[in-house]
Amino acid sequence: MSHPPTGSFCGRTRREFLWQAGAGFTGLAMLGLLDKDGFFASQAVAADGKTPFGNPLAPHTPHLVPQAKSVIFLYMYGGPSQIDTFDYKPALVGKEGKTIEVKTRGRQGARNKGRIVEPRWKFHQYGQSGQWVSDLFPNLATCVDDIAFIKSMTADSPIHGSAMLQMNTGKIVSGSPCLGSWVNYGLGSLNQDLPGFVVMLDPRGGPISGAKNWQSGYMPATFQATLMRTRGEPILDLAPPAGISRPMQREMLDTLAQYNSEHLALRSDNTNLEARIASYELAYRMQSAAPEATDLGQESADTLEMYGINQPKSRVFGRQCLLARRLVERGVRFVQLYSGGAHNDDNWDAHSDMESNHNLHAGETDLPVAGLIKDLKQRGLLDSTLLVWGGEFGRQPTAEYAKGSGRDHNASGFTMWMAGGGIRGGQSIGATDELGNIAVEDRYHVKHLHATILHKLGIDPNRLSYLHSGLDQKLVGVEHVEPIQKLI
């Protein structure tokens, strides 16, 4: 070609050639994809016509030395209020009902003044580091020395639909792969018998936009999340239909393999056929691996207690947190748990009554999350597991309506936290203004959070790219993004 690439910005010919090659996506093309030289090398290997099935989820070598192997993203759907949870604002205390000049932007649009709703819970300092935590989280408060709070988060949209997409895919526009897809694309999975990207939903319902929050967008379906449940069949279609026992299924698979091997024998150069035969065996193994992974019966009474599984209000999220630990223990890369589902007060979206809403959701999650941190720690897994807590945005310091304590959305300043995975705990970085409304100090955007997560996993966020629509797409966008230095 007479026009060599003019830069490393927008595209690479060879790669597009492979992605769009007639045979379509094959596992082989994925190996070593992160590294250009490695990529071409693996292509040469594939060209020998004998290379066996290359699983696209086979582990890849990361760019950097990874600190974390897995991520558990505790997604507080709906948007928890920062000033009622971790962002202590004494200036608000005693100002209940006072109307002040303040610029806010939420689902009600932009406003210039509002009525203060005081934080509804008292704050205290905890741990050796003296982090502020409200009375919503008495158990989590005992873990703050392991937690780094980011109190200056910002996002682009104060509307759930686009904000959720941004938190999960980096873009406010629908159609991009999720964080978990990027991680599995970049690193592969450490356990081939389990999915590499697992999402567990709140039993009250999925988040809005449903599957858009766990799909792989323009990447192959290989990289989308598998939904897991803590009760009943853990994965869709995992169990054979009633009336097909495991020995019976084994016989069926053996018969199938005989047909497929004969078919392959005349077409031995086609590695996709081999891959397909292998995928049936993989599925068969998943049928035992997944129930084993999800069998909480193997856990001690003390452990169940620790996660709050014996208490009605924390049972569901406790089971999910415990299951998350069991999955990362088995090498699952990315687990996302939803606290909150469906609409309105079924999630953290407290538009009308702060107290009933946050008491409910914090009450359901406080003990399980604290249990998860402590359990990971006692098992030596906390260093290799990155925990991320937060929602798609925060909430305003002022009331949404003329009456009541409900708060509207706020993407201009909110709190998220991280723990484990080599994060230095016991610190708070960034700050909002004295009302807790707008991030003013060390402001970070969702893309910085994403960059930090990738960095912790050993992925250079500015190099992890995927060619689509003529562009080398990146989770963090095309402009260079720094991870949050204070966390790495």
């Binding site: 045979a23 949209s157 159609g175 323009y218 290989t222 869709l236 018969t255 047909y259 078919h263 996709n272």
Partner: protein
Amino acid sequence: MPRDRSLRAVVTKLPPAAAWPAAAAVAALLWGVVSTQAVCQGAEPAASASPADNQFYEQQVQPLLKQHCLRCHGEGKKIEGGLRLTSRSSVLRGGDSGPAVDLDKPMSSRLVEAINYRDLEMPPKDKLPPDKIAVLTRWVELKIPFPPGGPEDEPAPPPKKKSPQVDEQNRNFWSFRHVVRPPVPQVKGAAWVRNPIDAFILSRLEQVGLEPAPAASKQVLIRRATYDLWGLPPSPEEVAAYTADDRPDAYERLVDRLLASPHYGERWGRHWLDLVRYADTNSYERDSAKPYSWGYRDYVIRSLNEDKPYDRFVREQLAGDELPGAGNEGLIATGFYRLGIWDDEPGDAEQARYDELDDIVGTVGQVFLGLTVNCARCHDHKLDPIPQRDYYRMLAFFGGITRYGTRKGGVEEASLRPLKTDAQGHNQAEVAAYRARFAKVNDRIKQIEALAQPDFDSVEKDEFKIDLNHQRLIQKRVPRLVSQTLYDEYLQLMDTREDLRNSEPPAMQKALCVTEVGRTARDTFILLRGSPKAPLAKVEPGFLSIVEPSSPTIPPAPAGVNTTGRRSMLANWIAGAENPLTARVMANRVWQYHFGRGLVRSPNNFGLQGTAPTHSELLDYLATELVAGGWRLKSLHRTIMLSSAYRMSSAANAAGLARDHDNDLFWRFDMRRLEGEEIRDSILAINGTLNLKMGGPGVYPIIPKAVLAGQSVPGAGWHSSSPADRNRRSIYVHQKRSLPLPLVESFDAADADGTCPVRFASTQPTQALSMLNSEMMFEEAGTLAAFVETHAGPELRDRVAMALRRAMQREPVPKEIDRGVRLIEEFIARHQLTPHEALRRYCLIVYSLDEFVYLD
């Protein structure tokens, strides 16, 4: 220019310090000449600074700049936004978009704006404390004194790496050159050459000493061709008839028969729907349905079946509403503009409008022209000679388009228009009759539901808001509140109502279509870094200058038309026979869908970094054939399919693998896995339950509850279709963006949020799980078992043979039958299964055969 400070988010999405947001003064500057202007500013004579001023700089300003600014704007290796703050001249010269300080209006200087976080936010990480802002403001007030001896005439930072230019060299790039019919090469193996395609293929093979693979068997060919043109398996009878047909033109007859069938439009329509990001809903929180989107889907199928010339097809979709005589068909075709994702509650309305327009520019550029014009939204295209200006000139063609709708009801007004009908009076009567009938059925349904409703608890009341739950909630109260007889009637009525919904009289149907704001379009500006908050120069509609340097004059739209006429100009340019891209891009797609890969393997990217054609002359030959044949696709299909190249076997040979593993030269035909829709349709076809009814509103096969549970309101937007409708072809399934059909999705359905030029063919264990374990598959396997029990007679061998024959479309060999018989007999003997249940389990395996999902 809008300056809504509360909508800062968009501006903060700009790269830190990459560029100053354009102030009103800059809007007049043309993109590209900014730096010239800035240099003039830089020539401003230095004000003579007093010693006190210099001291102020040295003690207060300089440390501050050093601490907060110079890392990106002076001292570092990288100069952000082209702005240095290291000398007076460089401050006055400014950065990419103009001077940082305006000495005439110092307090409106961009530097002052930025440190106050008014437009741009500098420093990006944190706003400076007030005292530091005061220092810099004072410095600007003093007309930015720099002490003597500083680098007064610092050179401007070197320009960034150049994007490819619109110049002669690039105009000469293969895809931008006029298409010229190439001479057909001479080859040695003339006996293999059935038409010029073969000569082009063979000449390349002969150059490297490879032989084309032998012809595929008749059985392989009928299977290949039928899936290719119909997306369905040939029936055993069709296979038998064709293999027995000894006439010399048996194959030609086969191709003609397949092309004449309406199933052709369903299969090739699916390809087109992939390209134009077709779906029936909007995505985002509500993911609500697009009314009458199916009209566009049916239009595509109909157009292909009618063999509508491709240039006409393009014109209708881009500007059918302005096309004289195009009527309803033209109106429905413009549904093209309404198929994309749509955020009904955007965080930033202006940003969302440009995102919607970008979706259109991106789709038009890639689908019709094979160029990623969308990459030039924020800056000149980095890899193609497409200046940012060209992006906005193309966007200007769409400058009159109304947005899809507004959240509360605006869709009807913006995007729906009634269809024109002939006999008004007659239609009115038909509509009235329909309405009356619907009301009668609906009222009766409500009456029956009313018997159960008072019994609902609060959860059930909520559940009842979703149509899908109605039947279950009523059934729970049989016979306590609703008698069995009434319930049976209820079920019947539900089906009738669904049928009625799906059969509105034509006079009631509407077109989902484009509309414009009027005869005058909105102004279009180049947007700095793609930000609607930073408009630069105004532009008029214009073609891609690398292909067509002249600008169009746009005549006013014909009287009575309430549009700008702009889209017609674009359509005429794209569909014109002189456009070098249109015919090449489409000919390549036709080849791609026949052979599994395009001659250009990046079918949406014919730019400098697209993949070069493996057979450029063949591509140009096909492009000229397409145009010479009146842009009719069917004759191109016929030419391609009658070639020896298409009829080759897919079997490998050592020489071919060694020399050309990836089959770049087409020494054999590539195997292909069926697409998700083909797999689902075939599952139903094989067990005899595929419903071949065409057209109309989308249907709703059953989606497992566990999958619906992922919705924020489980079941929302997913209705219940009759058993017959559930078994319609996949192209008629309601395509809900956030709720794809699990089986089809796991086999790599197109992601409809953007254009999809090539399907993946991934292999993953979840596919195996659904083929082996899903409720749907177990049921379909049972149906297949019942089918062969009915049709193959009492002998188990015959039943096994028939199941295999239907799945593989060939005669199974005895060993294959034996294997099945053995398994079934063993299941009966050892697992005490009934013969039917044992056969059913075998049928489940048949559906998982590689030979079922792969074509030779």
